[in-house]
């Protein structure tokens, strides 16, 4: 039982990290129509911004804010400089994916050329061990779960109760119709990149914190897990991504405890492929015929 509770705790932390990333990824895709495979690369690049500040003596939680800002600015630049020009030209979605894969190489290995190939860690305290309802986690892990809860609540509030969120949903559903209704879709798209980029930066930093150590290419495998959560919930579905993150987060960590940690990501992979073949619209999406 204690093994189960321990893995459940880890699963919740993984789900928290995953939820922030998956919601960011899926909203990005929904509104901008770019399946941005460079998401993982931007995550890690942002985590390194926090690392640079951390090395200079700044508290990592302040670094997290800087990483959010960096992810936001970086994503907006990535969109304005690369994706939007390609989309304006009418590039096919598949071309956009290839471009994003090219950008992944540029960002990831450009970063690695700067920071080197060795893994690094933040200088931070894990805080006291906290017991709550049978779960035993460090204070930092609880903070990550709380942070994710705050972010999810924020996304919910944004989408449900603000004009901006409404405009984002309208742009996502039908961009040209939204434009005809007087929504400035170009600006909505830019704002979406800024918001999801901030989520990306936060996700990168909490991923790095949770992982302990990280390097320039650490997010390659995590991107697979993000994609699994996104496709489980249905691409473009923010609430679906939250659900997917919880399912995948728990499934990977519990299977890691009971089977073997080496293959924990394989669960995510299997879920992803099954969803793609059986129900590409996701659990919360419409069945695609």
């Amino acid at each position: 039982m204690s093994l189960f509770l321990a893995s459940l705790g880890f699963g919740l932390v993984t789900a928290a990290v995953l939820a922030i990333a998956a919601v960011g990824f899926t909203m990005q895709f929904a509104v901008t129509d770019v399946l941005n495979l460079a998401f993982g690369a931007v995550m890690i690049a942002s985590a390194f911004v926090a690392y640079a500040l951390n090395q200079a003596g700044v508290n990592v939680w302040l670094g997290l804010l800087a990483a959010a800002a960096a992810g936001s600015v970086g994503s907006v630049l990535l969109n304005q400089g690369i994706y939007t020009p390609f989309q304006r030209r009418g590039s096919a979605p598949i071309t956009m994916v290839i471009v994003s894969l090219g950008m992944t190489l540029i960002i990831e290995f450009g970063l690695q050329a700067i920071v080197g190939g060795t893994s690094v860690s933040y200088t931070m305290s894990q805080g006291p061990t906290v017991r709550a309802g049978g779960l035993v986690l460090t204070a930092v892990q609880f903070v990550i779960i709380g942070l994710a809860a705050v972010v999810m609540a924020g996304v919910h509030g944004l989408l449900r109760y603000t004009k901006l969120g409404k405009a984002m949903r309208a742009t996502s559903a039908n961009r040209s119709l939204a434009r005809n209704c007087g929504i400035r879709t170009d600006r909505i798209v830019t704002v979406t990149w800024a918001i999801t980029g901030a989520l990306c930066g936060i996700a990168g930093t909490v991923f790095a914190i949770n992982n302990g150590s990280f390097g320039a290419t650490s997010a390659d495998l995590f991107l697979v897990v993000i994609l699994a959560a996104v496709f489980l919930g249905g691409p473009g579905q923010a609430y679906g991504a939250m659900l997917g993150a919880v399912v995948i987060g728990l499934a990977t960590e519990i299977s890691a405890a009971y089977i073997t940690p080496s293959y924990k990501d394989v669960i995510a992979f299997a879920v992803l492929l099954v969803m793609m073949v059986v129900r590409p619209g996701g659990l919360l999406g419409a069945a695609v015929t």
């Binding site: 096919a92 990501d265 073949v277």
Partner: protein
Amino acid sequence: MTSAQLYYLLNLLIYAGIDIIACLGLSQQFGVAGVTNFGFIIFQAAGAYTAAILSLSGDSANGGFQSYIGGWNLPFPVPWIGAAVVGGLIALPFTFVVGRRLRGDFAAVGLLVTAVMVNLLVTNYKPFLNGSAGLSLVPAPLQGTYDPAGAGYQWAYAAAALVLAAGAFWLVRRVTESPYGRSLRAMRDNDMVADSLGKNLVTQRAAVLVLGGALAGLSGGILVGYITTWSPGAWGYAETIVLFAAVIIGGGGSHRGAVLGAILVPVGFEEATRYIPPFGPPGFVDDLQWVAIGLLVVVFLWFRPQGLLPERRRTIGATAPSFEMPNEDVVSLAAPLRAARGAPAAASAAAPGAGGAAGPIAASAPATARPQPPGDGVVLRGVDLVRDFGGVQAVAGVSIEVRHGTLTGLIGPNGAGKSTLLAMLAGTLPVTSGQVIYQGADVTGGPAYRRARLGLVRTFQLASEFKRLTVMENLLSAVPGNRGDSLAGALRGRRYWRPDEDAAVARARALLERFGLSRYADTYGGDLSGGQRRLTEIMRALMTEPGMLLLDEPMAGVHPRLARQIGAQLLDLCAGGMTILMVEHELAIMDEFCDPVIMMAEGAVLATGTMTDLRARADVVEAYLVG
């Protein structure tokens, strides 16, 4: 030349052969068939591992420190053949990912993820293929008989690699330059439309996956025989991007482009950077190399997406037209037709221009076996058709009849249910209730492609030409039953399918001449004007030898003069025994060409008759004509 230089040169030749084979395989998938296989490297890896375990001995000659399955110690060339076979076979299950109508970019992501995961599995599970350490001391081909380090052996190896590369070139050419290759390219340009023309997307995608997988596997087999070692580090997902960079830079869909790309990127670029003196921290140069690969992909997609050697335009020499209908002549052609309004049978007689065009066609085109309509002359009958969309009845009990040889119009305000009705008649949308009877037979339950084979063919509201196929190829792609339109048929060579192809080309030429588009035969579909696209689409539908056409707004967005030209041609077809049901918004067109006209509003038929009749009815005028 020193011997070190010679060995290095041979090394480059061997790599060139290997990379050319791999790039040809990828180009076949990505460039020709539009299957973006981000997992391509898996198939090369599978071939390399297969060749390794086929040639290694069972007890591991290396003191047993390697663990792997197999170890059959088989002689050359079995490992290479096995590599190609396994590379092709393991491609089959991937059909489940790309074969369905999954968005192309989703499928690509699925394959990328698969590549990452397969690598992870092989790395972590040691008993299978020795885990992360990989296999080493793989026997080189015939190493018991010859000395693999000798110059002669190296020459022979390079020659073998290059000969196999030439063979791969011949193979992909044979497939691509056939009617089957044309079907693959049609699928690449627009898979939905290719599907509606009767192309089986699943088998076509499976075929290119297997063909490309076999080539990738072969390249892996040759590679492992040369470097004698293979481990997960050699086939990270990023290696696929190197091959993609090669194909994009060389030119997707172009075989010579694939060869050039293979020489430039994996061989040239990766070798060239080897001579950059190491500077910066360890791994710095390697990192920059990956950055450069990423930059090459993005920069080429921006500045030269067609690549250095773009896909060749397949010109099927348009003959000198005996009749040409440039746009300027349209009015003079349409003028006499206007006089013949409402009398299709008289139309061609009253229009000398059109009559002159139709004349030679009747003689040169093979007579289409058009089934005679049943006694009452009704070709298509819809009985009490209903279509429910979640409680909303888009079509609420419509009964219509379309008589043989008429150009029947279907009008109505937006949301009247015209397109829904058309889709139910064509079978692209199932009916909620009601019956569709074509040529006296109930076809209500049959899918679209089966109705198309019976001769009931539709076009789409949105332009659906294959953009990177010429007009001639667009037409040829619709011909059913070409012997070369299968992988087996394509592999049997031109001599096998030439007669079918020639007959199809003759029919296409006749149609092009009839529609006055002969001089555009070799123009890409994507370079046509809106009106020409519409004409191309109608001609393509005609190439399927239909008995009846269902046209969804064929004149939408077309210049009025060209619209009249299209109308005149449609009337002419009807005079020759064709039956057409046409949805159209433009009342002037209906006035001029259609008789009878069916008027729909709010999911029901409001009235049927000539436009003059309809204008006389108050309810019709209120529902549509003035509003």
